[in-house]
């Protein structure tokens, strides 16, 4: 149990540091770093606060607190990944619309040049 919590603490700290460095190097935009930083903070809190973890596992009716940790970790990452899927879908739509607009504008410019 303690080893698992220590491992989650280390993982959450590594995630937090990686995200902060990525933002600093402009590899991730600030608005998209928020989800990951929030996720790593939640993991850090849960892995360091035994009483909080016990309380959550009691509320969920789980007799083994690490199960609650694993469940919450899964939920947090599902939310983050879902949010990213929404962002990717928006970007794809915008990308398609821009590519089509660019092609149409180029086509019209070329047609105008040929007329002159």
């Amino acid at each position: 149990m303690e080893r698992l919590l220590d491992a989650v603490t280390i993982l959450s700290l590594m995630l937090m540091i990686t995200v902060l460095f990525s933002v600093r190097r402009s590899h991730i935009r600030v608005e998209y770093s928020v989800s990951w930083l929030a996720a790593s903070l939640i993991l850090l809190l849960l892995s360091r606060s035994r009483s909080l973890l016990n309380w959550i596992s009691d509320q969920l009716g789980l007799t083994y607190p690490p199960l609650a940790l694993i469940l919450l970790v899964s939920c947090v990452f599902v939310v983050v990944i879902y949010r990213l899927s929404v962002v990717i879908s928006d970007l794809k739509d915008a990308n398609i619309a821009m590519a089509q607009r660019l092609a149409i504008v180029e086509f019209q410019l070329q047609s105008r040049n040929e007329k002159q």
Partner: protein, 243 residues
């Protein structure tokens, strides 16, 4: 290509991706059948000589800067046609499977029947040939699923040999399915309460290149399309309440 002013003007739209082996022949055949038509090839960022072959054969070419897939490619053509004021657009595939001799039949129905979309159907008279067992099963499944949704039978829901009028053109220039668009496009039209009609056509084997839908992809295709149809049903606008 000039702005279309006539109430009867139509455009032949040919989406093409790596169709250098067939596109020139397709353009020439279309020109023979409908000499007055404007022909627009939409090149989906081909890596071969599709663009030069198409323009060499006398077509206007709309060049996409990046590969968008069939739906994005066709929609780009629809957008341009709508902006240029065309009343009707007939889509013909760039691989030579669609026989341009049927273009006047599609156009006639569009002009006279008042329907918004006309589909060139290879199964209209029951004599169409399926290219594979998986596709035959897929098309049978799509017919079953679409029948209650569309409120009328559709014999060839996967046909890309279609014509649309200006109202449908406006809808498709705003909203058009990106992958495997033919079936979902029918549901998009149904959402707007638009009508479609099928016209018998005969299709030919590809003149060059390979189909983008391989046997392995067919299963993914069926699942993707069924999911797309389901999602489009969820988007149905509510009917106005009776006062």
């Amino acid at each position: 290509m000039k702005q279309s002013n006539g109430a009867d003007n139509f455009l032949v739209l040919i989406p093409a991706f790596n169709e250098a082996g067939a596109i020139a022949q397709v353009v020439r055949e279309v020109r023979q059948v409908v000499p007055k038509a404007q022909i627009l090839v939409v090149d989906d960022a081909s890596k071969d000589a599709t663009v030069s072959q198409a323009s060499g054969a006398g077509a206007e070419v709309l060049r996409l800067p990046t590969h968008l897939g069939l739906g994005g490619c066709v929609q780009a053509g629809y957008r341009l046609a709508y902006e240029l004021g065309y009343q009707y657009v007939i889509r013909v595939d760039g691989d030579g499977q669609h026989d341009p001799r049927y273009i006047p039949d599609l156009l006639k129905i569009l002009r006279t029947s008042g329907c918004h979309m006309v589909i060139g159907s290879r199964f209209y008279n029951g004599d169409g040939v399926h290219t594979s067992v998986v596709r035959a099963i897929g098309i049978g499944l799509f017919r079953l699923v679409l029948r209650p949704i569309l409120g009328q039978p559709v014999r060839d829901p996967t046909s890309g040999f279609v014509g649309v009028n200006r109202e449908a053109l406006q809808v498709f220039s705003q909203s058009f399915p990106l992958e495997y668009p033919e079936i979902e496009a029918l549901v998009v039209l149904q959402r707007k309460r638009f009508r479609f009609q099928e016209v018998p056509v005969k299709m030919r084997p590809r003149q060059a290149g390979r189909s983008s839908i391989t046997a392995v992809k067919s299963l993914y295709y069926i699942i993707h399309v069924l999911l797309g149809v389901f999602i489009n049903i969820l988007k149905f606008e509510r009917r106005p309440r009776k006062q």
